[in-house]
Amino acid sequence: MADEQTGPLPVVDFLKIPENGDPYLEGHKCTECGAIFLDTRSACSKCGARDKLEALKLSNRGTLYVYSIVHRSFPGIEVPYVSAIVDLDGGGTVKGNLINVDPDPEKIPMGMPVDVVFKDALGRKDKEGNSYLSYFFQPQKQSQ
């Protein structure tokens, strides 16, 4: 059956799930000015160059730039969660949930190294019942 789900769908277009290999985030880089974007654009939004955007596999490691601990959200959404902005090593900035941390500002230092991990999208399914693969951030394990 062509429309039968064989694996989870990507939560956003810039999350790539190769048939063979690990999932990753994809950006686009302008070969003219070096700007990096998530998703595609008609032209480079920094310099306006056309046909200069090349797909770029983004790093699975980065540093926590800033965050907010969200205690009030829309009905049905479990709180608290940490909304985090992460600068990936080698370029690209992504927003997502920071997991495996205490939701306490004292315990979440800005600038800390994080990994990008890929997991099921908190059990959320679309109307057709498809499940999704999402990305999350978590603190990097301290190397001994």
Binding site: V11, V70, F74
Partner: protein, 380 residues
Amino acid sequence: MSDVYILGTDMIKFGRFPDRTVPQLGAEAAQLALDDAGLTIQDMEALCCGNLYQASAMVGQRILQEIGQTGVPVVNCSNACATGATAFREAWMSIKAGIYDLVLAVGVEQMGRGLLGGGGGGKGIPKEGLLGSATMPAVFAEAGMEHSRKYGTTFEQFAKVSEKNHHHSTMNPKARYQIETPLEEVMNSEMIAYPNTKLMCSVNVDGSAAAVLASEKKAAELGMDRAVRVRASVLTSDPWQERDLVMPDVNTCTRAAAKAAYEMAGVGPEDIDLVELHDCFATAEILHYENLGLCGDGEAGKMIDEGATALGGKIPVNASGGLLSKGHPLGATGIANIYEVTTHLRGEAGKRQVEGAKLGLTHVIGLGSACAIHVLEKVN
């Protein structure tokens, strides 16, 4: 090129008016502003109307249906939280261009309840709480945390903004709330998105505000006793930034607008007597002290600690109570803060009057982003 003047301006007391329509609310502010100018709708040569939630529903024309369908050109504009200021600026530009002598600008909004932003949409599954948060309190919390990261700004310093603006609003009968709100109460209210508590979020209200703008020739003819001169009108959008779209940038477009506005007015931030700026969240006000050049980079925390931006301080900010306590009806906000500054320049602000105010600045940010700044000057 000759200047543009405000001859009349007013706003309704912000509140909740579920039994009234958007055009009715807009009509009330329009008539108040016309009365303030001593003019009638028949004197107006055009109407610029700002409204967000009914952007496709010809609100300006429907206001004229309420107060007089004179057949003049009407422009309806929508520019997020810069909507009202954009409508005002459209009026300003049409006079500056020499096309009209008298134009009415109206901003009006009827708000829903609850959180703004992050409401879902798009394909697949809802992303809120999965890919971080797109709610406004969280977005502006993250913008505030960037300031904390750079300069060590504390939760308490952000909270002091709200304490100050709530205090100011106790002297503004047109504010939604007139309630003293001590610092502990601000800090201990429900945490929405750290570091923004509930009392550090702007108030969802309905409201409207309006202004009558005139050419120099017309203002001279009608009398300038209470007129206020528009010294600068600037609108910017956000230039490309490294963290673009992941982290909306309210700083760069504000800095660009401030620089252009000071240049256009031929003044510096040290010449400004009062500021109404876009305190949609307490965190935002701190950022804009620096963005508008009211202090140096990294000095905003000290500025709030020292009370420099409170009434009686060096440069009072949001004497009206700001969006945090006066309220934030999106499309009306940009004209309501022009009303506030004009009222001070006229010496008519009562208990909250900034004594001897000659020059004032208004600032709004529409996320996405649009920044509008106006510099206004007392004439007589």
